[in-house]
């Protein structure tokens, strides 16, 4: 009997506990029927601040410093897309630059998504990847537009100096090595008039919040809760009705569906266990 229990413990319950946990999460998510990223959207002053900052008049030319981390981007992705939607709706142009390779990969994907979503090419400017980390950021204060960039927006930025000061505001999407801290330290000190807002995942929350408290960041949405509140603020904006699809985050799947994903996990484990048993038998 004891041996039997031990075998169950080795190959049974204990083995499937993590997968069961995943299933439980999926079921809870589905039963909760959570929209968006599934977080309470109670009033968050920071979300309202970012919404107001991006809605302010004169925000026509926005620089998006896109350097999120691939692993945690999903946490702030709805907020980033809501910001894009708010800016596009307000008629702003978006110039996207990255200082990390990971950020560049995600920036290319998001630019492609914006183009597929119908944003006119003239309102988008791909400023590419700038090497050199913080040194590259400092260089970008005076020279940001690549030599090969063309179009009315690129020319307008060049005419305005060609650096970060040519933009009305900077939206920093953080998560990677170059985030709000680097922007405050390297750009904020050299161009103190620059308006800097940031959206960062929870992992950067303790690092970014002091800069908002000291006023070095003009707006900050940090972590899941604030990101969710910002998405709600954009979604509830009366001006959003015509373009509500733009920041749409699909509703959670019906209750049966996460179970299918969990079941697939179980199948992978089962196949591995059977293969292992066969190998042992063969040996």
């Amino acid at each position: 009997m004891t041996e039997r229990l031990r075998r169950i413990g080795r190959f049974g319950v204990r083995r499937w506990l993590p997968a069961g946990f995943v299933l439980l999460i999926g079921i809870l998510t589905a039963l909760g029927g959570s929209a968006g990223i599934g977080w309470p959207t109670s009033a968050q002053p920071s979300a309202a601040e970012l919404h107001a900052l991006l809605a302010a008049p004169g925000r026509d030319r926005i620089l998006v410093a896109f350097d999120p981390d691939v692993g945690t981007y999903a946490e702030v992705r709805p907020a980033v897309r809501a910001a894009f939607a708010q800016l596009v709706r307000a008629g702003a142009t978006l110039s996207v630059v990255s200082f990390t390779p990971e950020g560049r990969a995600l920036a290319v994907a998001e630019l492609d998504r914006l183009r597929r979503g119908g944003v006119e090419e003239a309102r988008l400017l791909d400023l590419g990847f700038h090497a050199g980390a913080e040194a590259g950021l400092v260089a970008a204060t005076s020279r940001l537009v690549p030599a090969g960039a063309s179009g009315a927006l690129a020319e307008a930025v060049r005419d305005a100096g060609g650096g970060i000061a040519a933009f009305d505001a900077v939206l920093v999407v953080g998560g990677g090595d170059i985030g709000p801290r680097s922007w405050v330290e390297q750009v904020g000190t050299r161009l103190p008039e620059t308006t800097i807002a940031a959206i960062v995942p929870t992992s950067l929350l303790p690092q970014a919040v002091p800069y908002r408290s000291s006023g070095q960041l003009d707006a900050l949405v940090a972590g899941v809760r604030e990101a969710s509140a910002y998405v709600a603020a954009v979604r509830d904006d009366p001006a959003a009705s015509a373009a509500r699809e733009a920041e749409r985050v699909d509703d959670a799947a019906p209750s049966a569906l996460p179970i299918i994903a969990g079941a697939l996990l179980l199948l992978v484990g089962l196949a591995d266990a059977i293969a292992g048993r066969w190998r042992r038998d063969a040996a």
Partner: protein
């Protein structure tokens, strides 16, 4: 402006987009296989990630840095950009450092480290330390003043906690102990919040598998 298809919206609806969704879904399942104790598929997914990352970094270095910012400008105007020639020599020295005398190979590394440290240190002092110290000084009144004072006291206690290995009196030792506990409390609260945020990432992946991949519930 319409949203992208599916949860991530990063993939187009054509054949390439479908293939990308399948690759991402299979990679997700391979990574998750560790949850049920299957190590081999998990190792495959790790190797795939490492290989892709290495290839991508090489590609971005060649396509977006070396070619457009070094080699092409040099080819177009070899004599007009002397600094680029220096950069080319340093890059070559870094690449061949294994076969070069140590001082020569160390030169580009020293320049990289020195320049990075200079930018980081200068920015940290002017952009972080000074403004944050100023922000610590309670200037408002009422609740703001109280909160500012509490923040200043906590910051001071945590800074005192970093006085390791120095002989100090009982008062300083007690203050350092308080600062250490405050720091642990802060880190603990943040880690708890961080763990919860990871569940959101998990939910996002589940929604990707069921929505983007299986196409259910759309």
């Amino acid at each position: 402006m319409a949203a992208g298809r599916g949860v991530t919206g990063l993939f187009s609806a054509d054949g390439a987009g479908t293939a990308a969704v399948w690759v991402a879904a299979v990679a997700t399942l391979l990574a998750w296989s560790i949850l049920v104790g299957a190590r081999r598929p998990f190792v495959w997914s790790q190797r795939l990630l490492a290989g892709l990352l290495t290839g991508y970094l090489a590609l971005i270095a060649i396509r977006e840095v070396l070619l457009p910012r070094l080699l092409v400008p040099l080819a177009e105007d070899p004599g007009g950009r002397p600094l680029l020639l220096v950069a080319l020599v340093l890059a070559a020295a870094l690449l061949a450092s294994r076969w070069l005398p140590r001082p020569v190979g160390a030169l580009p590394v020293a320049i990289i480290i020195g320049a990075t440290a200079a930018f980081a240190l200068g920015g940290a002092i002017v952009g972080s330390v000074q403004p944050q110290l100023v922000a610590l000084v309670p200037t408002s009144s009422g609740a703001g003043l109280l909160w500012g004072a509490v923040t200043a006291v906590i910051a001071a206690l945590v800074l005192i906690a970093f006085l390791h290995g120095r002989s100090s009196g009982r008062v300083i030792t007690a203050l350092a102990g308080s600062g250490r506990w405050l720091m642990l409390g802060g880190i603990g609260a943040w880690l708890g919040y961080l763990a919860l945020s990871r569940l959101v990432l998990l939910t996002d992946r589940l929604a990707f598998l069921t929505g983007d991949w299986l196409g259910l519930g759309r």
